[in-house]
């Protein structure tokens, strides 16, 4: 066959498509076999052709800007565990709804089939007894979880949210490449693909009849809420945490759907009921959308090494007090070798043939199949039968048969030796779709990820949203490796589509969403984030004051500098060599705490904190002691106070903010106490009082209030007992007293909590004390009281 290019086009479209052609033996989404633009693409291509190249690149930049602003990242596994910008391919893939409805009907059939299979494998096991599926394959799979055998899900169904990877072969037919049921990711990213892509083509998107995605999510959210039954309990998303590659998506979709984002540590089980530990005690959770593999969900009954799961979760499921989506154990459906048996199982369970075939697969545990794979090895990929990764995606010892060509003996030996553990799969050639490469439309291989959610009226298919695009032109299936990109998928209708959104319509009665109490772990992270940021700020101020004095004196061995170098707040670190490192540690600790509560923290705040960490690393490296260091520290101080301002001015006063605020106040009070103990000590050298006033940012105030040189009394007055100075111990206690009064259980049946009482007592003592009452011993007592406060707070709310 020739490889026609679109020579029938004229003008702008011809220019746009000048370099675009079908690859030999490969289907293309944009061009039909005759090289004509397919009708579904026509309006869009005309639109793009009318845009000037600068306009296109400007628009593309807008889309990327959106993704950056929204904080869309995914984490790359590897040595540095960095977050990588979301690799959006800005050209959507367009599918007409008539074709889409065929795909939909095939995938719904397949979803029903998967449901029947998993119900059978954990139930009556007819498939095995009747010989449709080799028993040894099931028994050998690490995904067939014996503790779940015989356990019926509370909802009656095992699968509620699944995804399929599909691609179009050279003959135009769609193929299923793999079934994703364990914890399919990508749905949240699909939403972001959509928003970003519509930023690139806003006018066209508004006019074109493209099916919206929100309705799908609304239906799924309703399903999840319904799964609770009539209980007053929560729906949670169980995430492995911030080190997972798709943690961003977990946080994003939790926010979008209004579900609690939970980690194993947040949960405990009592009498078969899963509970979340919150600042107001235990609250029931009855539905978990898990984003961790089943085997890790319960260390007590499943993988005992797991640190991600909840001991007792399986028992909660067994007692029907917990619905897990998808059911624990459903990962068995992803077993590669299962694809070999799907056509036969479809006949056995549904009495139907598969409407959409899956990628041809042969399990080499059988004599004749083994022979077939051997005879056709050059067209085959050979890989692990029990693996649950898709063959073309994985990095395990998958060999394209052809790479073993001429080594027939080794393939034969491999198959003879390990046949039962291997499968052969046909190397599928995918269709290509246009991607913008250096401003030029270029064909790239692609596959679609299609999401299905179960609703009260059966399976619902998300209309588009997510395509994976290969990095190179090579169109064999295996080319889709790391480094590919992702595109939006538009399902085009001939008729106008409904504009849908997840938000209730403005006409509906106004109602605030009911939120569960703040999980203790989130509160803990916010509290410590507040403390670490404040600790860093305190350190910056102290270091700056030190370097300013070094610059003035021109030498390090003055009495004052020697005294200041030994300041306990430096934790024994030398201010020149080591202190910057411990400062960076405080900032990293703040970032680490923040990263665990991404779902409760604004994107701006997160970005500001990351910028702070990045700039501190750069700015504080290799500065010369003295002026240079003081200047660099000054800049860091601006950044960090900017961040605090952002948090203070923009964060809603949810309980989470209060913990952050309490953490900051506690740390500030404690730092000030420590600084006074050291610098307002009778034995401290001359200049020490001025230094602590400067660290307390109160030089001008001191001058205005006292109009005399600093003395121990004036300094203590200003920095310990002044209710109007935001740097004073008293002021911070006042703040804490206020925030604590809003926390659950602050006053119960007219009685104050231990925490409220502790703060009130300390506050009152300091409020009535005169400066001369603050002898060194008293300051040391205050320091101990503050530490005790932290302990009481932790005991009360953070466990």
């Amino acid at each position: 066959m020739s490889s026609p290019q679109s020579h029938t086009e004229t003008g702008a479209v011809a220019r746009l498509l000048a370099g675009y052609r079908r690859l030999p033996g490969v289907s293309d989404e944009l061009l039909d076999a005759a090289g004509k633009v397919r009708p579904a693409w026509r309006a869009f291509i005309d639109h793009v052709a009318r845009m000037a190249p600068e306009e296109i690149s400007h628009r593309v930049e807008q889309g990327d800007q959106y993704l950056r602003d929204a904080g869309v990242f995914f984490r790359q596994y590897g040595a540095d565990q960095t977050e990588r910008a979301w690799p959006l391919s800005h050209m959507p893939v367009i599918v007409h709804e008539s074709e889409w409805s065929e795909i939909t009907s095939g995938l719904i059939q397949r979803a029903d089939l998967l449901e029947s299979i998993v119900a059978d494998l954990y139930g009556s096991q007819r498939l095995v007894m009747e010989g449709h599926l080799p028993a040894s394959l099931v028994a050998t799979s690490p995904e067939w979880l014996r503790p779940l055998v015989g356990v019926r899900p509370r909802s009656g169904q095992y699968l509620h949210f699944i995804a399929f990877e599909i691609a179009r072969g050279p003959d135009g037919q769609w193929w299923v490449l793999g079934d994703r049921v364990q914890a399919p990711s990508g749905a949240g990213f699909a939403l972001e693909n959509r928003v970003a892509t519509t930023r690139v083509f806003p006018d066209h998107y508004a006019r074109a009849n493209i099916h919206r995605l929100a309705g799908f999510f609304r239906a799924f959210r309703d399903t999840m809420n319904d799964l609770r039954g009539d209980t007053e309990s929560r729906v949670g998303i169980l995430t492995p945490g911030r080190l997972n590659d798709t943690y961003f998506e977990h946080a994003y979709i939790a926010r979008y759907l209004g579900f609690a984002l939970l980690e194993g540590e947040d949960l405990t089980v009592q009498d078969g009921q899963v509970m979340v530990r919150t600042i107001a005690g235990l609250e029931p959770v009855s539905v978990l959308w898990r984003r961790i593999d089943s085997a890790f969900a319960d260390p007590l009954e499943l993988n005992e090494q797991s640190k991600l799961g909840v001991p007792g979760l399986v028992e909660a499921v067994r007692r029907g007090q917990m619905a897990v989506v998808n059911a624990l154990g459903s990962g068995i459906l992803e077993t590669r070798a299962l694809l070999a048996f799907m056509p036969r199982i479809a006949q056995a369970l549904l009495g139907e043939s598969l409407k959409l075939p899956n990628i041809a697969t042969w399990w080499c545990g059988q004599e004749s199949e083994r022979a077939h794979v051997l005879a056709n090895a050059e067209r085959m990929m050979i890989g692990e039968a029990l693996s649950t990764r898709m063959l073309f995606d994985s990095e395990d010892n998958t060999n394209l048969g052809s790479t073993l060509a001429g080594r027939e003996e080794s393939v034969a030996a491999l198959l003879a030796q390990r046949g039962a553990m291997l499968v052969g799969q046909e190397a599928v050639t995918r269709s290509t779709t246009p991607a913008m490469v250096n401003g030029v439309l270029t064909p790239r291989p692609m596959s679609l990820r299609v999401f299905l959610a179960r609703t009260s009226r059966g399976w619902r298919v998300m209309p588009g949203g997510y395509a994976r695009i290969g990095r190179s032109q090579e169109a064999t299936a295996i080319a889709m490796q790391r480094g590919g990109s992702v595109a939006d998928v538009w399902v085009l209708s001939d008729k106008p589509v409904r504009n849908e959104t997840l938000l209730p319509s403005p006409a509906a009665p106004y109602r605030r969403a009911r939120h569960g109490e703040l999980p203790s772990r989130a509160a803990d992270n916010l509290f410590w984030m507040g403390r670490y940021v404040e600790r860093a700020e305190g350190m910056i101020r102290m270091l700056r004051a030190w370097h300013v004095r070094l610059a003035e004196a021109g030498r390090e061995d003055t009495q004052l500098l020697a005294h200041a170098s030994a300041y306990p707040g430096f934790f024994g670190a030398d201010p020149v060599k080591e202190a910057p490192r411990s400062l960076l540690q405080s900032i990293s600790a703040a970032t680490a705490s923040a990263s665990q509560v991404r779902d409760r923290f604004s994107v701006d705040g997160w970005t500001a904190l990351n910028d702070l960490a990045a700039s501190a690393r750069v700015e504080l490296a290799n500065v010369a002691p003295g002026h240079d260091a003081a200047r660099a520290l000054g800049q860091q101080l601006h950044q960090i106070t900017g961040f605090s301002g952002l948090v203070n001015d923009n964060m809603y006063r949810f309980a989470g903010w209060r913990f952050l605020s309490i953490g900051r106040s506690l740390e500030r009070a404690s730092n000030m106490t420590q600084a006074l103990m050291w610098f307002a000590d009778d034995a401290a050298p001359e200049g020490a009082l001025d230094m602590v006033v400067e660290v307390g940012d109160s030089v001008l105030t001191h001058r205005r209030l006292f109009a005399v040189a600093t003395s121990r009394s004036t300094v203590i007055d200003l920095l310990a007992c002044d209710a109007n100075n935001p740097r004073s111990i008293l002021y911070q206690l006042q703040e804490m007293k206020e925030q604590v009064s809003y926390l659950p259980g602050a006053v119960e049946r007219g009685e104050m909590s231990e925490l409220s009482r502790t703060i009130l007592k300390l506050h009152a003592e300091i409020a009535v004390a005169a400066p001369e009452n603050f002898a060194a011993e008293r300051l040391a007592e205050i320091q101990l009281e503050l530490w005790r406060l932290s302990e009481v707070l932790t005991k009360t709310y953070l466990r």
Binding site: Q125, V128, M129, E130, G131, A135, S136, V138, A139, T140, R146, P147, V149, T268, V269, Q270, D271, P299, L300, E301, N303, E304, P311, G312, E315, R799
Partner: protein
């Protein structure tokens, strides 16, 4: 034979743990050759939850949960069990080829299916050295499966040194095998690995061993703690047989089974997670005393 069994397992935590949930496999199993007369499992502190459950393999387990902080836990079992010797007829078990065919046609995944015990399990992975060792023991032409089981078990008893302290509960079997030292858990895991690698389904049995030898016999090894041995499938006609590689003998009436699974992980006496930052210590003590009064003997001989 009638036995009185005492088992005590203690955990002491340096810092109190916040709470915990455990699954216990400690109580003697009820089976054709083993009758449980009494079995009492006492747990201190008193757990906030306590339920009895049956696992996939049909074992009885007890699940307990503690909600309050605690610095120590003690489990104490007292049981009386009547154990009958397993009768062994002439070896009718198939050769390995025939066994493989039987297994290939096996269409059941019920709790007794041999297929559960044929593949790698979390703690026992097949290794080339296991297979080589297994094949070396049958190079003399031993063909029947049960005879192969015995040959490999005897060889391990001969080649390995019973050595408490040389390994711990998490030592991989291949490591213990390389050192040729270990305790009953290692002997059992290694033998399971050897059997599976040549296609014989094999599992792990935990239980107790008579602590005082019969008159004139030597005390067996592995009596100071819970014991373990191997369960192997020798074809449908013969079924499951049990062999103790630590002592090099077929299981008769000196072994009292608690539970069986694919490996130690399935039947560890105490499974469970505690959230603790400090260290912990544990201690185990076992007594298995035969009640060999004339009256007992009479009642057992029927």
């Amino acid at each position: 034979m009638l036995y009185d069994i005492r088992l005590s397992i203690r955990y002491d935590y340096q810092a109190p743990v916040a709470g915990g949930r455990h699954v216990l496999y400690m109580t003697p199993a009820q089976s054709g050759s083993q009758r449980v007369i009494t079995s009492l499992l006492d747990v201190t502190p008193t757990p906030d939850e306590r339920i009895a459950k049956t696992d996939f393999y049909g074992n009885t387990a007890v699940e307990v949960a503690f909600r309050a902080p605690h610095a120590e836990i003690a489990f104490r079992l007292r049981a009386r069990v009547e154990r009958q010797a397993v009768a062994r007829g002439p070896d009718q078990s198939p050769a390995l080829d025939a066994l493989r065919e039987e297994l290939a046609g096996w269409r059941s995944l019920t709790q007794d299916s041999p297929l559960h015990f044929l593949a790698d399990s979390p703690r026992v992975r097949m290794r080339p050295e296991f297979e080589a060792y297994a094949r070396a023991q049958i190079a003399d032409g031993t063909t029947r499966t049960a005879a192969i089981v015995e040959a490999i078990g005897k060889a391990l008893d001969h080649d390995m040194t019973f050595d408490p302290g040389s390994t711990n509960v998490d030592t991989p079997p291949e490591e213990a095998f390389a050192a040729r030292h270990g305790v009953c858990q290692d002997f059992t895991h290694i033998m399971i690995g050897c059997l599976r690698s040549i296609g014989i389904p094999a599992g792990y049995v935990s239980g107790f061993l008579r602590t005082q030898p019969p008159e004139g016999e030597e005390r067996l090894e592995g009596t100071d703690a819970m014991h373990a041995w191997v369960r192997a499938w020798c074809g449908a006609a013969t079924g499951w047989v049990e062999y103790d590689p630590t002592n090099g003998l077929w299981v008769m009436d000196q072994h009292i089974a608690v539970a069986h699974g694919r490996d130690y992980g399935d039947v560890a006496p105490v499974r469970g997670v505690v959230r603790t930052s400090g260290g912990q210590a544990s201690a185990q003590a076992v007594d298995v005393i035969p009640l060999a009064t004339p009256a007992d003997a009479a009642s057992l001989s029927r």
